[in-house]
């Protein structure tokens, strides 16, 4: 999986949870929960969508590493590699 594949998967997963958001203009460093107004249930659904799209299960202890779009891509790229 390339970084671009991962980026696409992350954005598609976010779009499932926040369909109204303009994800194309999402700054890579912005806190996802903050800018997309995600509550804990939304974030759990996002992780679920990510697991389905990439096959990567994020352990509970590492969830905090996925706070921003850039961090999500870095984390998943490291796991996929």
């Amino acid at each position: 999986m390339t970084r671009e594949d991962i980026r696409t998967a992350v954005l598609a997963s976010l779009a499932e949870i926040a369909p109204e958001a303009d994800l194309a203009r999402l700054p890579p460093g912005a806190e996802l929960r903050e800018v997309l107004d995600l509550d804990s249930m939304d974030f759990l659904r996002f992780l679920q969508a990510l697991a389905e799209a990439t096959g990567i299960e994020v352990p509970e202890s590492e969830v905090s590493k996925l706070a921003t779009l850039g961090a999500c891509i870095d984390y998943l790229a490291a796991r996929a590699g």
Partner: protein
Amino acid sequence: MPSLGADMEAGTLVEWRVRVGDTVRRGDIVAAVDTDKATIEVEVWQDGVVEELLVAPGTKVPVGALLARLGPPPGAPPQPAEMRPAVPPRPEPIPIEVAPPAPVPAEPTPRPSPAPRVRATPLARRVAHELHVDLAVVQGEGPGGAITRADVERAAGRAVAGATAAAPDRLGGMRRAIATAMARSKREIPHYYLGTRIDLSRALAWLAAENTPRPVAARMLPAALLLRAVALAAREVPEMNGFFENGELHLASAVNLGVGIALRQGGLVAPALLDGDRKSADQIMRELADLVRRARTGVLRSSEMGSATLTVTNLGDLGVESVYGVIHPPQVALVGFGRIREQPWAIDGLLGVRPVAVATLAADHRASDGHRGARFLAAIDRLLQEPEKL
């Protein structure tokens, strides 16, 4: 048309999911209905065969209107029955013979009003009901000063779409529904408020240990434990779980937790998570996830609307420390949870840092006293100290 919440007056039939001649069983989804708040899947109340569909899709009808007629199920003695929704409609005050003191239609029970009788045509009354117009303030220009539909529409300042409703203005309708229910709550319910800080270190440690080996799809959120604790506490202090109607408290036999769910486009709904006292925290988590997903995609079921016996709201995700809620009438209590944050916590003369959340109670003083409310919050606290038993 079932009452899908105390604040609902009418619904628009979107589609039938059954046809004449179909055999239906209790709990089957037979129709979809649009309310101000959401699209609701209507479940049937009893077994039978669909004999007649009385309302065409696209039609807006008041709560209590007959939607369809059911015949007996095959093999049963012939006894025609109405198709009753899974949530039995509350007694409906339509037609209103006396102008209510304020435009609060669809109350569970009509209350006596000292207001003078208003002369109005039945159609004018129905339109006034739909447009939230108080007939007492409308100038009647019909025969003998009677109020006509045109008078009502003039008073409302806009034309009405006619018998067939257009697609409802969901957000505006939801705002109005919330306004009606909350204004009624503050007008009628003498709220009292209590709050307590709860140490959640045991609950969160237990949750973390439970979640560690689980895939994301099977993980639990703290909300599942909080809801479970509230449901069990409601069994211990039953005065928090029920309805205040006709001047007295009616205890509910089931604990159906209304869960406040904020919608992404604005507004909120509080569908019920049924029988919370009889479900495990895991089961509550699964149902909560399903409820949130369906609430946000706009498809809830009739059995989830209007059946809550106690509401829980959790604004912790937004960072607020505490929330003192407005009770959803005719319920008698609302529990609020704020954000879980690490705080200094003194115990046995030692100072430590613990994850703490403020639990609050807004309760109806007609139904209970502060002493019982305090017992209720204390029970929630105690239950959360033994998460493995939840």
